[in-house]
Amino acid sequence: MYVLQFRNTVVTVYIDNFLIFTAFLFLIGLGGVVLNRSNLIKTFMSIEIMILATVINFAYMSYIDKSKIGHIFSIVAITVSCLVFAMVFAVYTKNNNRGDLLDDDGE
C-alpha cells in the first residue's frame, strides 16, 4: 500500500503484483510502438498488448469484487478491438498494391 500526497489531497493506492504486471505489460506495448517505426504488424501487436494490459485490470477488479461487470467489459473490449484491427488491416492491404505489404520502408 502506498500513500500519495498532493497538496492537501491524500490518495491511498493499493498496489499488488497483479497491477505491477499489467503496468509492465503496458510499458512493453508502449515501447513497441515507440521503438518500431517500420513494421505495421509489430505496431498493431504492440497496441493490442497495451489494450490487453488495460483490459486485464477489468478482469482483476471483477475477481476482487466478485462482480461480473469487469468480465463483460473486458470481453466486449477485446472483441471490438480485434474487429477494428482486422478491418484496418484489411483496408490497408486493399489499398496497398505493393508486394511488401507489411514493411513501410520496404525492409
Partner: protein, 620 residues
C-alpha cells in the same frame, strides 16, 4: 403510452438506418429502392427524434436490453440536448446521402457499401450520444472509429492516412479504457448519473481526479486539438462527402460533445480546464495561420474546422458547456453547407482540389457560386445568419471573464478565418480562370434540382439564427437539465409568434414555387425552342430569395421586438417597407445581374438594421 411505445421510440432512430441496409441489399437491383431506402430510413429516424422533442414533456429512458443479475444493459437516455444533437447529425447525414446520390451516379457495389457505412456511422453516433452509461458509450465510439477508418479507406490513395487515423483513435480508446477502469474500480458502476453524484462529493473519492486527465487527453485526441491535430488534415484524403461528415458533425465534434456530456468530471478541476483553454487556443491560432498558406481547398476548410473546435474547447474550459454545444451546432450547419458547396465545385472540376487550378467559377457555375457565397456568410457569423448568435455568445463569455489573452485569441482567430475564407473564394471562385482545357470542356453547372437538399440546408443556415437565438435564451443545451421548462417555454413562444413563423414558412414555399416555375420555364424553353419571357431568369430568382431572407430576418426581430412593449413596431414596419420598395426600384434601374443582387443584399441589410433600430432589439 406504455413501455412498448417508449421501447419503439427509443430503438427506432438507432436501428432504422441499419435496417435500411438490409432493405437496400434485398432490392439492390432497383436503383430507386436501393438509393432511397437509405434516405427514407434517416428521414424516419429524424422524424421520431423531432417528435421526441415536441411530444414528450419529460426526459425518458429506454432500457432496450438487460440480463438479470448481470450489470450489463443497453439503455438510451432521451434528454433534450442529446435528442437535439442527434437530430442535427441525422439532418446533415440526410443531406450528404441525398447529395451523394444526386452527384455520384456510380451504381456499383462499392457505392452501396459506402452508403451503408454512412448509415451505420449515423446510427453509431446516435447510440453514443444517447447512451447513459460508459459501457454503451465505449461501444458507440469504437464503432465510430471503425467506420471512419473504413470510410477514409474507400479512397484508394489514402493508405497511410487510414493507419494514422486508426492509431490516433486507438490511442484515444486506450486512454478512455484506462479512465473507465479507474471509475469502475472506485464506484462499482457504469451509469453516468451515479458517476455524476459521486463527482459532486469529489473530496470523498480522491482517486476520481485521475480519470479526468485521461479523458481530457482522449477528448483532445478525438477533437484534433494540439498536440494531436495532425490527423484531421490527413483525413482530407477521403472522399469529399466523407470529409463533410467527418469534419462537421461527428468525429471532430465528439470531443466537445463528450466534455459537455461528462461536464461534472471536469467542473471542479481547474487544472484540466486550463489545459482545455490552452490546447484549444493553441490549436485555433496554429490552424488558422496554416490555413492561410494551404492551396488545397479541403485542407483550408479542415484547418478552419480545427480552429472552430479550438474555440469550442476554450468555451468548455471556461465552464460554458452549453455555449460550446451551441457553437458546435452552428458549426455543423454552416460548415456542412460550405463543404457541400465546395464539393460541387470539386465535382464539377473533376476532383481538382487545388485552388490555384480553379478560378472563374462565377461565370462557369453561377448556381454553385451563389451557394458558396451564402455559406460563406453563414460560416463567418454574418448578422442574421446561423453562426451569429453563437459567436456573440462566445464573445459575451469573454466580456464576462475579462481575460485579455483569451479575448485576443478569439478575435484573432475570427478575423483570420474571415481572411482565409475571402482568400479561398477570391482565388477559387472570382479569380482568373486557370482551369485545364480538358477539364473545362467537361465542366457544367449542377442543376438546381440536384441541389435541393443542399438548398434546404442553406435555408437552415440562414434562418437557423431564429432557432439558435431561442437556444441561447433558454439554456437548453446543458446536459442534465430537465427538458420540461424548455419545452413549455418553446411552445408558448411558438404560439405567441405564430404569425411571424407562418410568414417565414410562406416565404419558403413562395421561394420554392418561384424556383419550380423557373425550372419549368427553362425546360419548356429547351423543348419548344421558343424564347419565353425573361422575367424568371436565374439572377432575379436569387434576388427574390434574398428578399425573402431579409423578410424572414425582419420576422425574427419582430419576434424579439414583441418582448419590449415600449418600442414602436409600426415605425420599423414603415421603414422596412420603404427600403424594400427602394431595393426593387434599384434592381429595375440596374441592368447587370450582379448589381441587382448587390442592391438587394444592401437594401435587405439596411432594412433589417432600420427595423432593429425602430422596432426594437435588445442588442442595439
Amino acid at each position: 403510452m406504455g413501455s412498448s411505445y417508449f421501447l419503439f421510440v427509443g430503438v427506432a432512430p438507432v436501428l432504422m438506418p441499419i435496417a435500411s441496409i438490409l432493405f437496400a441489399i434485398v432490392f439492390r437491383r432497383s436503383k430507386f429502392f436501393r438509393h432511397f431506402s437509405f434516405v427514407y430510413a434517416l428521414l424516419f429516424s429524424s422524424f421520431i427524434l423531432v417528435s421526441c422533442v415536441f411530444v414528450s414533456v419529460n426526459i425518458f429512458e429506454v432500457r432496450v436490453f438487460s440480463i438479470k443479475n448481470i450489470p450489463f444493459s443497453i439503455s438510451l437516455n432521451y434528454g433534450i440536448p442529446e435528442t437535439v444533437l442527434c437530430i442535427i447529425v441525422m439532418i446533415i447525414l440526410i443531406v450528404i446521402q441525398y447529395s451523394n446520390i444526386q452527384i455520384n451516379t456510380d451504381t456499383s457495389v462499392k457505392q452501396l457499401k459506402y452508403q451503408a457505412c454512412l448509415n451505420i456511422f449515423g446510427s453509431a453516433m446516435c447510440f453514443a450520444i444517447l447512451s447513459n452509461n460508459i459501457f454503451n458509450f465505449f461501444i458507440g465510439i469504437e464503432i465510430l472509429s471503425l467506420i471512419s477508418v473504413i470510410l477514409i479507406g474507400f479512397e484508394d490513395k489514402a493508405k497511410y492516412e487510414t493507419v494514422k487515423i486508426f492509431l490516433m483513435n486507438k490511442f484515444s480508446s486506450i486512454l478512455f479504457l484506462m479512465a473507465t477502469v479507474t471509475i469502475i474500480a472506485t464506484l462499482r458502476t457504469t451509469d453516468f448519473l451515479r458517476i455524476r453524484i459521486a463527482y459532486e462529493h469529489l473530496e470523498d473519492y480522491p482517486a476520481l481526479r485521475i480519470p479526468g486527465l485521461l479523458l481530457l487527453v482522449s477528448c483532445l485526441c478525438k477533437g484534433a486539438q494540439f498536440p494531436f491535430s495532425s490527423w484531421l488534415l490527413d483525413s482530407t484524403k477521403a472522399n469529399i462527402f466523407v470529409s463533410i461528415f467527418l469534419h462537421t458533425a461527428t468525429i471532430v465534434g465528439f470531443g466537445v460533445i463528450f466534455i459537455a456530456k461528462c461536464f461534472f468530471i471536469f467542473e471542479d478541476q481547474p487544472i484540466l480546464q486550463n489545459i482545455m483553454v490552452i490546447s484549444g487556443g493553441t490549436t485555433a491560432i496554429l490552424m488558422i495561420i496554416s490555413s492561410l498558406f494551404h492551396t488545397d481547398a479541403k485542407k483550408i476548410i479542415a484547418c478552419s474546422t480545427a480552429a472552430s473546435v479550438g474555440l469550442m474547447f476554450i468555451a468548455s474550459g471556461l465552464g460554458e458547456y452549453s455555449i460550446s454545444l451551441l457553437c458546435f451546432i452552428c458549426h455543423a450547419f454552416s460548415k456542412s453547407v460550405f463543404f457541400l458547396s465546395f464539393a460541387y465545385v470539386i465535382t464539377a472540376l473533376a476532383n481538382e482540389t487545388n485552388i490555384m487550378k480553379m478560378g472563374g467559377l462565377n461565370k462557369l457555375t453561377p448556381n454553385i457560386t451563389d451557394i458558396v457565397l451564402i455559406s460563406f456568410l453563414s460560416t463567418i457569423g454574418f448578422p442574421f445568419f446561423v453562426s451569429f448568435f453563437a459567436k456573440s455568445s462566445l464573445l459575451s463569455i469573454l466580456f464576462d471573464t475579462m481575460n485579455t489573452a483569451i479575448g485576443f485569441v478569439v478575435a484573432f482567430v475570427n478575423i483570420l478565418s474571415l481572411v482565409s475564407f475571402i482568400r479561398l473564394i477570391r482565388i477559387a471562385v472570382y479569380g482568373e480562370s486557370r482551369i485545364d482545357g480538358g477539364v473545362l470542356s467537361r465542366i457544367g453547372d449542377i442543376p438546381t434540382r440536384h441541389m435541393s437538399a443542399t438548398l434546404a440546408l442553406v435555408i437552415v443556415s440562414i434562418f437557423g439564427s431564429f432557432i439558435t437565438w431561442s437556444m441561447c435564451e433558454w439554456d437548453v443545451l446543458h446536459f442534465g437539465n430537465s427538458g420540461t421548462v424548455y419545452l413549455r417555454g418553446f411552445i408558448d413562444y411558438l404560439i405567441e409568434n405564430l404569425i411571424e413563423i407562418a410568414q417565414i414558412i410562406i416565404g419558403f414555399i413562395v421561394a420554392q414555387i418561384i424556383f419550380e416555375i423557373k425550372n419549368i420555364a427553362t425546360q419548356a424553353q429547351r423543348k419548344i425552342g421558343y424564347k419565353l419571357s425573361t422575367i424568371f431568369t436565374k439572377h432575379e430568382v436569387t434576388a427574390y430569395i434574398l428578399d425573402y431572407i431579409a423578410n424572414s430576418a425582419r420576422s425574427c426581430f419582430a419576434a424579439i421586438g414583441r418582448f419590449d412593449e415600449k418600442m414602436s413596431k409600426r415605425h420599423g414596419d414603415i421603414f422596412y417597407s420603404v427600403t424594400n420598395l427602394a431595393s426593387v426600384g434599384l434592381t429595375k434601374i440596374h441592368r447587370s445581374a450582379i448589381h441587382k443582387q448587390a442592391c438587394m443584399i444592401f437594401c435587405g441589410i439596411v432594412a433589417c438594421l432600420l427595423y432593429l433600430l425602430f422596432a426594437g432589439n435588445q442588442y442595439v
